[in-house]
Symmetry: C2
Subunit: 361 residues, 2 copies
DNA sequence: CTGTTAGCGCTTTCAG
DNA sequence: CTGAAAGCGCTAACAG
């Protein structure tokens, strides 16, 4: 052993260049096939061969080249995720859930954001060819998502884009319509009779469905819908417009929590009390919802769980292979109503004068 | 053309199996080499060849197989990121910044979390071999990070683990010590004389350095340190313990914003006013910091920007190649003091009776 | 049980 | 300007 080589000191080969399976075979005096076998724990192998191989691996610090491996096995053990964006709690929770599930199955995750652009979605998808075994596509636009599924060709794809009408494609979607109805009904049940809606970005599928659900659940009133884009600032602006109305609403259903929070802030600034003067309900149940005062009633979506399910669904498809039973089901996630202070019943609300001097967090 | 094949209708080949470069060559009546040339825009190519190739590509919906390509070019155009966790705003912001930078340079991102475990960190690192051109490693433990850099062998690695003493390795770190000193000095400048510290998890490098910086900046007082773990709940517990002290502190420096918020909540519940009775300063400047009341003074770290810098640094290393000028610099990010209400000067604080009835968000 | 060998899909000399 | 052929590192028959 050439002790003059620095790294030879700790019994390792100089790592000028990463060792290949051939180097290992050579050093262990066996064929590459045997090395491969040992490393993949496949066949029966003589204990002595195994030892020699493992020693060589150790000595050379050999790490199999996944790229090469997947080229020959045509498996990558990686799943691709295409998101419209990476900003905000929704996506980070989703990724976390997916990562957890992926790890549990020994898969890798490769994430790409498309910035909501259909072209970019497709570009991202293409660039994943040969890099992943399957994909999960989130897109606020039905078209992009479906297109993506087409482009993918034989690669399994799970759609998670909020639409329920993914006929023929494996997908997971939130029951946006049903949840919106639940929101309105809850507001009515707590005594509100003039309910407004701050909707999400135009053209966004989920926003459309929630708005539609809202409208369909109204009783004795016309829809009062103001545009938003899922940001807190938009919620603030929308609420300001609502306040300027001749007939102010006594309740607001915001298409997500961040807008609900923005609206609450606007109300507060205007001296309009929540929930006494106006009730507010959000959607998502971001952690923040329980931290503000009044705490925010909302429709909880277990995002990480959705991510997990998406991954497991996809893994199922991958394992089934192209000849597996065709999976065309749309799994539905039903948001859960979480009642908090912001929609406390109108009649009892007035008496909720708990420690008015406290500095709410 | 076989019009009976469904997809032949829109002028495409049946996509039973993804087309390879050979299929394209065959259909275009050229060699695979020419196809490769056209696709890589390399050599000069006859216009007619180019056309034929592009037509074939279009017809076959050919997408190059990145895995195969990288096997022969030994480039992957992908950078790997190993994080201790994926939970919370810090990491999502970091990933967002990294993604932005990666996209800007036409690179992909592959993220893996190690759950803080050194073994897992190494495993993740190994599994990235051949999949990435370089890595960014975040680890709260110096050891894991350094080990990782070793294991990586010839692969460029940028460390982002909070330690400043990464002698000999390219790295990016927050000036935790300096920022902690700034926090203490700010508290003193606003009249506080008995400053406590809620520290981060034991064994966490950043937590250690912040605590040390805190202690070093004290004047005329002994350190008052209570343990935390970066969660809001820990901040709450820690504050409760501080309140039980014989001599209550008149200021608290929490090692991050979430703990600061938890502490504020605890103070509020105990009827202790902030900032009048006790000032609170956090670290990070999460969005929430500006939304609570009182708004939270904190040390802002531009996380997305850090992510961007990490990626660009790594890309630089990758392009420089193994023979590039050795880069052993530690880039330092200095947090910025953002003064808000939670540390308003003691003497003026009393008069800040702005609209006490407002429902703070 | 182990070695030989033919690819996986692509890039890249090296000759025409 | 274009084609033939040699790999990149690994796996998986197929023989021994």
């Amino acid at each position: 052993m050439d002790v003059s080589t620095p790294s030879a000191v700790n019994g390792h080969a100089p790592a000028a260049k990463a060792a290949t399976i051939r180097d290992v075979a050579e050093r262990a005096q066996v064929s590459v096939a045997s090395v491969s076998r040992v490393l993949n724990g496949s066949d029966a192998i003589t204990e002595s061969t195994r030892r020699r191989v493992l020693d060589a691996v150790e000595y050379l610090r050999y790490v199999p080249h996944v790229g090469a491996r997947s080229l020959s096995t045509s498996r990558t053990d990686t799943i691709g995720v295409i998101l419209p964006d990476l900003y905000g709690e929704f996506f980070s929770e989703l990724i976390r859930g997916m990562d957890l599930a992926a790890r549990a199955h020994g898969k890798h995750l490769i994430v790409s954001s498309s910035h909501g652009d259909t072209e970019e979605t497709l570009a991202a998808l293409r660039s994943m060819r040969g890099r992943v075994d399957g994909m999960i596509v989130l897109s606020p636009h039905l078209r992009a998502a479906n297109l993506a599924a087409d482009v993918a060709g034989r690669m399994p794809v799970v759609l998670m884009n909020g639409g329920l009408d993914e006929a023929g494609r494996p997908s997971i979607a939130i029951d946006n319509h049903g949840a919106a109805v639940t929101a309105v009904e809850h507001l009515r049940a707590t005594g509100r009779r003039r309910i407004a809606h701050i909707r999400g970005a135009a053209g966004n599928l989920e926003a459309d469905i929630r708005a539609e659900g809202y409208a369909s659940a109204l009783v004795d009133q016309e829809p009062i819908i103001v545009e938003g884009d899922f940001t807190q600032a938009a919620g603030h602006r929308a609420a300001t417009r609502l306040l300027a109305l001749d007939q102010r609403p006594d309740a607001v259903f915001a298409a997500n929590d961040m807008m609900a929070l923005g609206a609450m802030l606007a109300f507060q600034e205007a001296g309009v009390r929540c929930p006494e003067d106006v009730a507010v309900i959000g959607f998502d149940d971001v952690p923040l919802a329980a931290l503000v005062r009044p705490t925010l009633t909302t429709l909880r979506v277990n995002i990480a769980e959705m991510g997990r399910r998406g991954v497991e669904r996809l893994i199922g498809l991958v394992q089934a292979g192209p000849n597996g039973a065709p999976d065309s089901a749309c799994e539905i996630v039903r948001p859960l109503l979480v009642e908090r202070q912001s929609t406390a019943a109108a009649e009892t609300a007035g008496s909720t004068t708990v420690n008015p001097t406290a500095q709410p967090l």
